[in-house]
């Protein structure tokens, strides 16, 4: 049976409110380019086909994110060569702090204080390797915890932490570079004891 125009209008009325969020999530998962737009469209088509399973008392945004994540993993996730990160999440954490300490010393961290990080984040997300970006997308944009992300990607939790922390470190580096490009001197390494 063809659904009534009212059914479609009601669906659009609720679900399209989250289009900016779904777009952000799709872009962070699929990376820059046409795939992200296709993923947004497929998310909404899949949601429409599965509308009978949506419980209106639930969070529509979370429901759309789950559909988007599923579509990404089934159809868009590129087979990327295994990245050699090793299980070194603690060292990635440490390196993040070392990078920030250097930026505090050279003034670039202070430079970011009054700046809107949004545009720089978008550029940085587009530039980091997919293996790191997709984990950042799942956890930091989609709100998955480590175990959820590990299950979704079929990788161990330790690998999720390594890739996530590496991805965040790379993003932080880019933000600090962005501030440095605005006229600050190169950082000096600083040990943290």
């Amino acid at each position: 049976m063809t659904p009534s125009p009212e059914t479609l209008a009601a669906f659009e009325d609720v679900m399209l409110r989250y289009l900016p969020d779904v777009t952000r999530y799709a872009r962070s998962l699929a990376g820059p380019g046409a795939d992200a737009d296709d993923l947004v469209q497929e998310t909404y088509l899949d949601a429409w086909r599965g509308r009978g399973t949506f419980d209106a008392s639930r969070d529509a945004r979370k429901w759309l994110f789950a559909i988007c994540r599923h579509a990404f993993i089934k159809r868009y996730r590129k087979a990327h060569r295994e990245v050699a990160v090793g299980d070194t999440p603690e060292l990635e954490s440490y390196a993040t702090a070392v990078g920030h300490a250097a930026a505090v010393r050279d003034g670039s961290a202070a430079r970011l204080d009054g700046m809107d990080l949004g545009p720089a984040i978008n550029k940085a997300m587009a530039s980091i390797p997919a293996a790191f970006r997709e984990v950042v997308a799942l956890v930091d944009v989609g709100g998955s915890d480590y175990a959820d992300a590990a299950q979704a990607l079929g990788i161990p939790v330790g690998t999720v932490r390594s890739r996530l922390f590496r991805g965040r470190r790379l993003l932080q580096e880019q933000l600090l570079d962005y501030a440095r490009d605005a006229g600050f001197v190169a950082p000096q390494a600083q040990e943290i004891r």
Partner: protein
Amino acid sequence: MIHSRLSCGETVRALWDYVDHALPGPMRDAVAAHLATCDNCAGHVAFAQRMLGAIATAPVEDQDVARLAERVRVALRTEAAAG
């Protein structure tokens, strides 16, 4: 208690797990205690949290939203018409 007094190095090794609320209770408390007395480490954590906030809310241009909304509406109409 090995966690009772952390160095700066030990604290920042736990930075992301701390920010993600993924540390076991005693370690979490030890990191929090260090951060309460160390401006340097507290600054690293504050920036990390700010960055995560920016990732979660990264801007999507209005014109992109409008374009995608139109595209999605067309696709949904086609799909709905097909029954």
